[in-house]
Amino acid sequence: MYDLKPADGAGGELSAPPPAAIELVGINKHFGPVHANRDISMTVPRGTIHGIIGENGAGKSTLMSILYGFYQADSGEIRVNGEQRLIRTPNDAIHMGIGMVHQHFMLVEPFTVLENVILGSEGGSLLHAGEARAREELAHLEAEYNLDVSPDAVVADLPVGLQQRVEILKALFRGADTLILDEPTGVLTPQEADQLFRILDTLRTQGKTVILITHKLREIMAITDNVSVMRAGQMVANVATRDTSREQLAELMVGRKVLLRVDKGPANPGRPVLQVGNLNMVDRRGVSRVKDVSFQVRAGEIVGIAGVSGNGQSELLSAIAGTIRARSGEIAVNGTNIKVGQGVDAHDMRELGLAHVPEDRIHEGLVTTFAANECTILGYHDDPAYNKGLLLDRTAILNTCEGQMGGYDVRPPNPLLKAANFSGGNQQKLIVAREMERDPDLLLVGQPTRGVDIGAIEFIHRRLIAMRDAGKAILLVSVELDEVMSLSDRILVMFDGAIVGEVAQADADERTLGLMMAGIRPDEASTSTGGTPGGTSPA
């Protein structure tokens, strides 16, 4: 699908190579006792796309923040175009031609594209003249790099793909020669990601240098010339992309062999456990978030819901879990009909044999100021097993927590440690352990591996498969398409609150699902297969 060829001559193979765009030498950075960056060196040749890959917390973002002037390195030097430079503030970085596209866009939503672009470099104390000049410059940039955005559109009205273009335009407008993109595809559909990569390719052709931070191996292989791998604050490899493979990179990231594909046998579906009919949900502002959704999940199968984040998956999951109220429709768990719209709460749903791993582990899954053992009983605190008369049975709770920590490899295995002090992956394991150990008939799982490192992902995936094989029904919501595709037996795609279509795992490929995630129905998608891939712009 990504047919972009790496630039020729990348990696400094010429006899007299020009100075590298960016060179980092021996960078060290501590945050208190944490050694976030340990003696890091890397070279980014001019006119290349350089990937930086690593698990969460490996130090990628810290390194880039040092390069962009958010932090100062404790030691080490930065060379821009061969000259040693001191970058104290983002302003310094901007002046040296370094631009950054942040993971969370740094855009002012009620402003127009033009206002966003000129913010910080208005060219004079009055806007009028600067705006006219910027409009000209913008038209020029848009034509040169194929970045089509109307300068007078209000940013809040633009889809995320276009908002990202505005960010890129902002950096180019400030004269960036080197562009840092931090996890740029997290919020994009596969098609939007393709478009982004085409833009990056154009930038490379025009001589710009791009640094791409990601944890998605697929993207590294598709677009980069060179890749640097980080693990636990250290740079463990600097290689040319063509000389490596996904498996090798994954092994470098985690430090051991990783199974990228989930091994599982065919599903053996039994009776329906969850039945949802014509479910509708309207949010507080009166916007319809879930529209006439009907499906069922049977015992012994995993049903995945794919979709770009914000298309109603979260609301659907919460409505079934009982944490928000649906307006109309039917939900039945284990054959018991629930009175939709009448204040059924999460506790009532749990009584019916449902367990829920919520999408947002910090706000819904844990109380971060509680100790791990207290988090173990969240939602089940009235279970007689945890109570002794009027008081909680501390011993029983601690034992349960210790047992779960052992079974799910939570590190450090200390039931008295505050939840906030565990890493994201271990927090997630705590929640997964709590919910799975209730042995529910139906498990709702939202973003089970968001912000979780590859090792933990592998573990959680295997547990989910094991539960399925034990005859449980699992409903999985994830924005990671790879995850939905590899785990689910059937995949439902949601767009704008409605289910666009259903695909069996065997028939699922990225392209079909991607089109459906953009709201194009499967029948339309199949007719447009022969067309140009660029023809599906996210409007």
Partner: protein, 409 residues
């Protein structure tokens, strides 16, 4: 015609009452557009009102009073900024603290300094200045009488009225004295110099006044008798003090700064998404400090107006909720300058009506009754609640309002 006069007088009062609201609400606009909740408009106005009245009564200069009022208000704004921006404190707590602090401190200092139960001495403007005399200018009978009073050796004559009564009573000597001093202007040169002299004396009055008084715009007296336009010009447009004109001028200036200047773009951005401003290489902290300085400046003028223009002394708690009313107007106007003006005029109008209707019996359908004063006083607040509850649509505040900016890792 009677109704028309009443309406013009009502609008005239509206303008006078709305002035401090306009200034304070515009001040709040700068602060809140930059993302800092300012519930301390009230406190800043009150502090400025006290400082201005106290300074004016001690030094005899309303202008020094204005400077001191602005100074105190800006200091309070900087305290707010230090608490909310530098130390990331809660904006509402800091604002309330300033309100309480000022409410107590003004009364305490007032009692300690002036011993009038928290009130400052009344401000009087001196008699019109006549010290500049140019040759060849006209000396009217009035001028001559005043000169006689000034020149009286025994200091028995204190007012021009005494001289007039003496002449009417048949004091021939006095009449002759006045007659001798009276002079027709020398043609051309006398007329020109007469104009210069009047202007110069007027300017001295303007500079040395103890409280701000109305400025009569050119020709206001001349056209006063022209029907309709004359009344509108002489009553409604002319005759206000300089701070009223400043408040009206501040509205288009604010609109221009907020929407057309680099500062305004950054101000709006910092209230919506400070992270975007930070990554663009602009200091969020400094932007918010600058915005609060303007807030302090405008609230300072608003407070000064209350004690040295609208009234002639500081009275304890004299803002009486005007700061909160300004805040309501700001929200009502959805943080936009021109609607702020309209909202403040509406609230001012209600207050002007209140003064008119107080105790006036109303005859409706054969029933005569008086509207309770409390009801009319509550009208602006009732109106705000009712209108905000749905009639003007949702007031969407700047997105980052009230949240301290912390650089993310």
């Amino acid at each position: 015609m009677e109704i028309f006069t009443l309406v013009v007088l009502l609008l005239d009062a509206t303008l006078r009452v709305a002035t401090p609201l306009i200034l304070a609400a515009l001040g709040g606009l700068f602060s809140e557009r930059a993302g800092v909740v300012d519930i301390g408009l009230e406190g800043k106005m009150l502090g400025a009102a006290f400082a201005a009245a106290a300074t004016a009564s001690v030094t005899g200069s309303a202008w020094l009073g204005l400077c001191m009022g602005i100074g105190v208000s800006m200091t309070l704004a900087m305290i707010h900024a230090f608490a909310c921006v530098t130390h990331r404190g809660d904006h509402v707590v800091s604002g309330v603290a300033i309100n309480i602090l000022v409410a107590g401190l003004t009364v305490t200092l007032g009692i300690a300094w002036f011993e009038r139960g928290g009130q400052t001495p009344d401000l009087y403007n001196p008699d019109p200045y006549t010290g500049i005399e140019l040759p060849g200018t006209a000396v009217t009978t009035e001028d001559a009488i005043r000169m006689v009073v000034d020149a009286d050796p025994d200091d028995r004559l204190r007012t021009p009225r005494q001289v007039e009564q003496a002449i009417a009573g048949g004091d021939v000597e006095m009449a002759a004295q006045v007659e001798a001093l009276t002079r027709e202007p020398t043609p051309v040169i006398g007329w020109i110099l007469g104009g210069v002299q009047d202007f110069a004396n007027g300017f001295v009055d303007f500079v040395r006044e103890e409280r701000f008084t109305g400025i009569t715009l050119p020709l206001a007296d001349t056209v006063a008798h022209v029907p309709v336009i004359g009344l509108i010009y002489s009553e409604l447009i002319s005759g206000h003090n300089i701070l009223v004109y400043f408040a009206l001028l501040a509205v288009p200036i604010t609109a221009w700064v907020v929407y057309r200047s680099r500062f305004g773009l950054r101000l709006r951005a910092v209230g919506e998404n400070p992270a975007a401003v930070d990554t663009a290489g602009i200091s969020v902290t400094w932007m918010r400090y600058k915005a609060l300085m303007i807030t302090g400046f405008l609230c300072g003028i608003a407070g000064t107006y209350l004690s040295t223009a609208h009234n002639a002394s500081f009275v304890r708690d004299m803002t009486a909720g005007k700061g909160f009313l300004a805040l309501a107007a700001l929200i009502f106007a959805k943080w936009r300058p021109i609607p702020v003006l309209l909202a403040c005029l509406l609230f001012g109008f209600l207050e002007a009506i209140e003064a008119r209707l107080q105790g006036t019996p109303i005859n409706l359908l054969g029933l005569t009754f008086t509207i309770p004063v409390q009801f009319i006083q509550a009208l602006p607040y009732i109106l705000t609640v009712v209108l905000l509850a749905g009639f003007i649509g949702k007031a969407i505040a700047p997105k980052a309002i009230g949240t301290p900016y912390v650089k993310e890792r």
